[in-house]
Symmetry: C2
Subunit: 341 residues, 2 copies
Amino acid sequence: MAAMTIKEIARLAGVSIATVSRVINGTSYVSPDIESRVRKVIEDSQYVPNSVARSLRFDNTWTVGSIISDIANSYFNIIAKVSLDLLRERNYSMIICSTEEDADRELNYLRFLDGRKVDGIMLNSTGKNDDYIALLSQRMPIVLLNRRIRHAGFRGDFIDSSNHEGGSLMVDHLFRHGHRRIGVINGDLGLSTGQERFEGFVEAMARHGLSVGSDYPFRFDGKFHMDEGFEGARVLCEKSRPPTAIAVMNNAMAIGAMKYFKARHIRVPEDISLVVYGDIFNSDILYVEPDHVTLNPYVIGRKAAESILERIRQPDLPNREVIYSPTLSQGNSVATLSQQE
Amino acid sequence: MAAMTIKEIARLAGVSIATVSRVINGTSYVSPDIESRVRKVIEDSQYVPNSVARSLRFDNTWTVGSIISDIANSYFNIIAKVSLDLLRERNYSMIICSTEEDADRELNYLRFLDGRKVDGIMLNSTGKNDDYIALLSQRMPIVLLNRRIRHAGFRGDFIDSSNHEGGSLMVDHLFRHGHRRIGVINGDLGLSTGQERFEGFVEAMARHGLSVGSDYPFRFDGKFHMDEGFEGARVLCEKSRPPTAIAVMNNAMAIGAMKYFKARHIRVPEDISLVVYGDIFNSDILYVEPDHVTLNPYVIGRKAAESILERIRQPDLPNREVIYSPTLSQGNSVATLSQQE
DNA sequence: CATATCTGTGAAAATGTTTTCATGAGATTT
DNA sequence: AAATCTCATGAAAACATTTTCACAGATATG
């Protein structure tokens, strides 16, 4: 019952290897009696063609690699799920890789997937291997997710939602509800995501006549991790005159902040308002449902999968960028202030 | 800049293919000058060995397939994350497959992974392809997760936490808090998980002198999906004399039930108590933190990955079963009843 | 000095496919 | 009836590796 090969099938059916191949792939006519004989042998022996050999022959693997920062993050989880679904529909499979934001790990994965001859890569980059990625992109279809590559030599697609717009949206929303003293818990400013979200924030503040200088008191810089959200909330709330609202720049940090509020019995939105960049799993059964900028991971995941498949088909496609406009999703975490300030 | 091959490297370095291979793998001594010449060419050309060819030669792929019901389910998500981590440490990669509980899809995936010559499979089965799985297990290392195969011919490992114990635990917990009229929202009773949890429930009820016959009024049978949790909660709560507590047999249905309670302004635990089988993401910031049976997906995921790697190393290992005892995790979703009943 | 041993390298086989090309038998045409 | 054509099938090459085996040159041994 060891693994059958096409050669074995051919022997058992008393025909040549080529004929078996033809039966399997239907590439040309074979006479009915031979065909049925071959089919019977295949059936009986539970033969499954070795796709490793096939891949070697064709130089394609019907596989795409997906490198994301964290499979357990609700945003990337949805992305992975949605793109996996689409790939499966088109008979592609997916090798999943989780970098945990580690640049070395990312580089290893890229090398690995290269050697593995995957047909394409969906990449949420750490932002620290731009040179290598640009180089690899010359001969491997790549779709970037959420993080842009600064290198001019990069060839491929870029799917994102506008971080700048999203950051502005948060401020506009809070401002509309009467908030003026607005705190911000930043993500990693070394990454385009973190940087652009903050720029949007600053721009909108300025538009409303509130300047955010380098000495802005209500600012905490994290790196997108949950515990920094907790810490940031603490720091901002312990100010002698704390902000009336806080904008948190990703979902993980928002969860951290919410844990802080809950632990300290700080009521949301009565004591402090909260607006979050990004969706949170099952947010409708949280103790408070955050007003948030929604990134549409469903749309983005699907688009990313579509793009990589197109690019696999046509490697010569020009660089493409698809930037979705985020929208603000109402929850109940933002209080309306009368102008007591 | 097209993909380099070992042949190309050999040509550029003016040596034979065999020598290049020896340099790369260090399989035998090559003179220093030749070695450095070869290394330089490899470096310059960014050559990465084609692991498809390697796999064909060796009949191993350094890859395991992971088939789970739903990558977005918090339980399996953790399992996937943890096992992926361990595999990566040991230089294995992972092809991820999501069945959505569809038996055909599972079968496709199994065939696919077979042809793909993965070194082993971690499988959370739908429970409807037992024959094929048993057959496949003769020549492919398999570790089953959470769902047992009934077929005697199966060869492999089985990792689980005791569903029976878990089911009992829920009842004991509720009983201890004074509950007697206890509702249950079952998962799929056609699956070992659903069946055994319910058996544990029934057994514990009996032990406490409460018989659960076939006409038990506080029972709703679902299939582990969220909307059935919603529906089940509705059905039970709309009884003229509703139960004082409900045991929900998985996390997805629990979320559904919680959505129902919230929508109808039914307070937990004041109006009704809730105990859940399984962990929920970020449960500490939900509107109520469910008392729940914890399955330790971290432990199970790690164990599963360890097991499959052991079995890949030693395919002749006897069948093994590892059943963890679940524990009950305190939340604040269970009220203590005085004996007004 | 002749023979035996060692050693660094290359040629070629093998892994499981698909596909091109050749072949020969049967059918069709003149 | 001979010549041509069609077409089902098989042999072999190709894909990129690793490894066995052979070989030639150098060194050691008698």
